[in-house]
């Protein structure tokens, strides 16, 4: 399989505090990879560095063979990377439909826009029912659905998903993760960042465990399931 994204020895600092240390990561086309780890491990920073919200202090990021680590976020979006941020960051005063339109601003073709709109409404029938409603009045689960749908509207080659389970009840979490699996089956390459290790390991093919900015371990669910290191990383001992 062709590799879509390759991260080579990335470092990132906030002041003196090291957020990312020598991170290398390859994502193949059509894969679903997950980065797990406790709060503060550097998971969100990793996504921010990929989508250009932060410039890495050292290292290279290649997307489809081309270096993107010095590009600004809006240029990276145009190349086909879409970032669904932590805590959703919706346009709360805009309708569901307008939020989706905002997600599609890089699309030049009206037909593609229609196709994508139908695609996300099919994926989340709930959003179709509420398309005229203000985003801020949706429930937590619906807001998360909208955030994912908005990120999909630009028809990305790579979808970055930051903590889609945050603050949701177990049942809703499960529903969101069913959709994440469906998105994968439809062929969108996804890099998922998630604190809920159990959920992430259930859907992802490759799992990368992050601890204090370093990749501690990686493998498939089968390889990591019996691994005591995961518990140690989360609980400190």
């Amino acid at each position: 399989m062709q590799k879509l994204l390759e991260i080579k020895k990335i470092y990132h600092y906030y002041g003196k505090a090291k957020a990312l240390e020598e991170i290398s990561l390859k994502i193949e086309e059509k894969a679903l990879d997950a980065v797990i780890g406790p709060n503060g491990a550097g998971k969100s920073t990793l996504l921010r560095v990929i989508s250009g919200l932060e410039e890495p202090d050292r290292g290279k990021i290649e997307f489809l063979g081309e270096r993107i680590d010095k590009l600004k976020a809006h240029k990276i979006t145009k190349k086909g990377i879409s970032h669904c941020p932590e805590r959703r960051r919706l346009f709360f005063d805009m309708s569901v439909a307008d939020n989706l339109k905002m997600g599609a601003y890089t699309l030049k073709n009206k037909e593609v826009y229609k196709v994508m709109k139908n695609f996300v409404y099919e994926l989340f029938p709930r959003l179709n029912e509420r398309r005229k409603q203000r985003a801020g009045t949706l429930s937590g689960g619906e807001q998360q659905m909208l955030a994912i749908a908005r990120a999909l509207m630009s028809k990305p080659k790579l979808l970055l998903l930051d903590e889609p389970s945050l603050g949701l009840a177990p049942k809703i979490k499960k529903r969101i993760f069913d959709v994440i699996e469906k998105i994968k089956q439809e062929g969108t390459t996804t890099l998922l960042v998630e604190q809920d290790a159990v959920l992430a390991m259930d859907v992802a093919e490759n799992i990368h465990l992050l601890e204090e900015g370093k990749i501690e371990m990686r493998g498939t669910k089968k390889e990591l399931e019996k691994e005591p290191r995961i518990k140690q990383v989360y609980l400190g001992i």
């Binding site: 002041g15 505090a17 503060g40 604190q195 159990v198 204090e212 995961i230 518990k231 001992i237």
Partner: protein, 246 residues
């Protein structure tokens, strides 16, 4: 060892959200104890309730046998509870020495500074947190690690019996974390009861002999770190539902 802090059925609601839910525990004088829980568990709210920054919806808090429930922070600090904040706060344009001096002028701080002189007392605190060579510098131009130390210094200036430290390690480099660890250990050795939160657990779990774990506002476990880390409910709170102990 007597009980220094008694928290009983503590509950705090913010609108429809119950941030702290029927939470009870006790801390004995001289203890060194951690409060853990995943992001959003309610740790900071517990600290806000104990230190008077928030009023509980119900429940009781007793310090040295005195009911301090709903008391104002400045009264609580005069009884002997000091705290630090997750996000550092300081008087940005005052010198470090003046920052510490402010807290040395509190009621309990004065009990010490009366004997030694305020300047001497403030200087000795700055020295103990490792900032004495920056005494004349204002916080605005200092790095985050120094501000964390300053925060602890300001809390010490009030001469507390119980010190609440909210995420003292967050945003620090490894070396800076070690410096803070040493400082906290020294304070505990000097007789201050220490209650400390953290969501990054590597430092915390090896530092304290006892931790209380909470999740979604509720008490879930209490005991030595190794025992709490192997508790099934704690594990699920951190790793997700269905997590197994490998």
């Amino acid at each position: 060892m007597g009980v220094i802090l008694e928290v009983k059925n503590l509950t705090k609601k913010f609108g429809g959200l119950t941030a702290v839910n029927d939470f009870s525990f006790e801390i004995k004088r001289g203890e060194f104890i951690g409060l853990i829980g995943p992001n959003g568990a309610g740790k900071t709210t517990v600290f806000n309730l104990i230190s008077g920054f928030e009023k509980p919806s119900s429940g009781r808090i007793r310090f040295n046998g005195i009911d301090i429930t709903g008391m104002k922070p400045y009264k609580i600090v005069n009884l002997g509870i000091a705290r630090t904040f997750q996000l550092v706060r300081s008087f940005k344009y005052l010198s470090l020495l003046d920052n510490i001096t402010v807290s040395c002028l509190s009621k309990r701080g004065k009990e010490v500074s009366k004997k030694t002189g305020t300047d001497n007392y403030a200087s000795s605190i700055l020295a103990s947190v490792g900032l004495i060579d920056k005494a004349r510098i204002p916080p605005i131009i200092l790095p985050h690690g120094d501000l964390r130390k300053l925060q602890i210094g300001k809390a010490i200036g009030t001469n507390p019996e119980l010190l609440l430290l909210d995420e003292p390690f967050s945003g620090l480099s490894f070396e800076e974390q070690l410096g803070i660890t040493d400082l906290i250990k020294k304070l505990h050795a000097d007789g201050v009861t220490i209650f400390i939160t953290g969501h990054v657990l590597r430092e915390l779990m090896t530092l304290v002999p006892r931790v209380i774990a909470m999740h979604q506002g509720k008490f879930i476990a209490d005991g030595p770190p190794v025992q709490v880390a192997n508790n099934k409910i704690v594990l699920e709170a951190y790793l997700g539902r269905g997590a197994k102990i490998a």
